[in-house]
Subunit: 194 residues, 2 copies
DNA sequence: CGGAATTACTAACGTTTGTTAGGTAAAAAT
DNA sequence: ATTTTTACCTAACAAACGTTAGTAATTCCG
């Protein structure tokens, strides 16, 4: 039986509290209390509070980038690419809601150096989506007057699910992804038949 | 010459710093330093740090609700309503980027009582958009399988502009609103002519 | 002119913060 | 069986926090 290491427990618990109260408001003493130990004991496993935040943010970033790279490598059709990219994103985000929320909300509190590094990864992920839209334009299936704008808007939509998604809700991650794909590709307007 | 009251200066400066560093990370001493006074002097004008956050959040909420109510009162056509609602939202948000960002990002730090009040206003605003979608469905111009979902997605898109908009950028608020309206109503997909 | 606000100050308070030092008992490794 | 490592502890630190008390100078108003 492979138990989760204490370090992982600390990270998981921290993600939960960072999401609930915010990075600054959740103290080391809060985290320790949640684990039933003293604050000072945390330092047997981690170097600093900052290190916890970095671990959470960069793990999520890496996971998302790996997913979008795979999509751009494997699929050919732009529409299929977009559908899969959205599905993957929703799956990753809903799969670890605490970490995802911290990743999306608290990355600003990263230390100066790590912040620059993080933003590079963020841009890389955005570029992955950008490539899909470029493909789509070449294939004449997608059309956006401002592709950078479109990418940011798409990501805002898929990221917002962290604000309301609950595993106990009545939509599965795949259903959410489907809804989002539909909304992003066809919008609200009723198709004027013929 | 009507100078801006010191209290307003404090609120404006706080909004700027709350946006930059976050509510908890921006200290009273930071705010005071920005104004060239001592931290204790702030308390001649305001009751507490919380009061500043409350003022910022509720002002923005009131302004947005006033705008959506007006739209729902004045216009008849759902499409026109949505276009105007988005235009107003973008105008308000870009008009005071610091306050808007705090309103969108830092409202979670409101004290328990004020938080509940705030969420009510937030729901009211969402209801304003919901009504537009209901109108649109009745008029047979809009079609969304899950209207609550659609409202949240629309708002996520219009709110995300605080993350990248700059007054020095090459898009005016009206142009942004137009792009958003287009994206929200027709999506990415190329219209299959005939 | 004289009293009342207004706006700022210095000094200090009690808390909370992240973190370090040094120690102890149990478990694992040799 | 002895050493080493792991995982926790207590105690304490220096710094930063929001805020209060009390006071002096300036401005406003009758």
């Amino acid at each position: 039986m492979d138990t989760i290491s204490r370090k992982e427990q600390i990270i998981t618990t921290s993600a939960k509290l960072f999401r609930q109260k915010g990075f600054e408001a959740a103290s080391m003493r809060d985290i320790a209390a949640e684990l039933g130990i003293e604050a000072a004991s945390l330092y047997s496993h981690i170097k600093s509070k900052d290190e916890i935040l970095e671990t959470i943010c960069f793990r999520m970033a890496d996971e998302l980038i790996k997913a979008i790279d795979e999509v751009n490598d494997v699929y050919f059709n732009a529409e299929e690419k977009l559908a899969t990219a959205i599905k993957n994103h929703v799956k990753i985000v809903t799969g670890d809601l605490d970490s995802s929320t911290v990743f999306l909300r608290e990355w600003r509190r990263l230390s100066a150096g790590k912040l620059a590094e993080f933003i590079k990864l963020r841009n890389k992920y955005e570029d992955g989506f950008m490539q899909i839209l470029v493909n789509g334009e070449n294939e004449n299936v997608f059309d956006a007057p401002d592709k950078k704008f479109a990418v940011l808007t798409i990501l805002s939509a898929v990221n917002w699910i962290t604000e309301w998604y609950s595993p106990k809700g009545n939509m599965t991650p795949d259903e959410i992804a489907e809804h989002l794909f539909r909304f992003i590709t066809t919008g609200l307007r009723v198709k004027t038949t013929a």
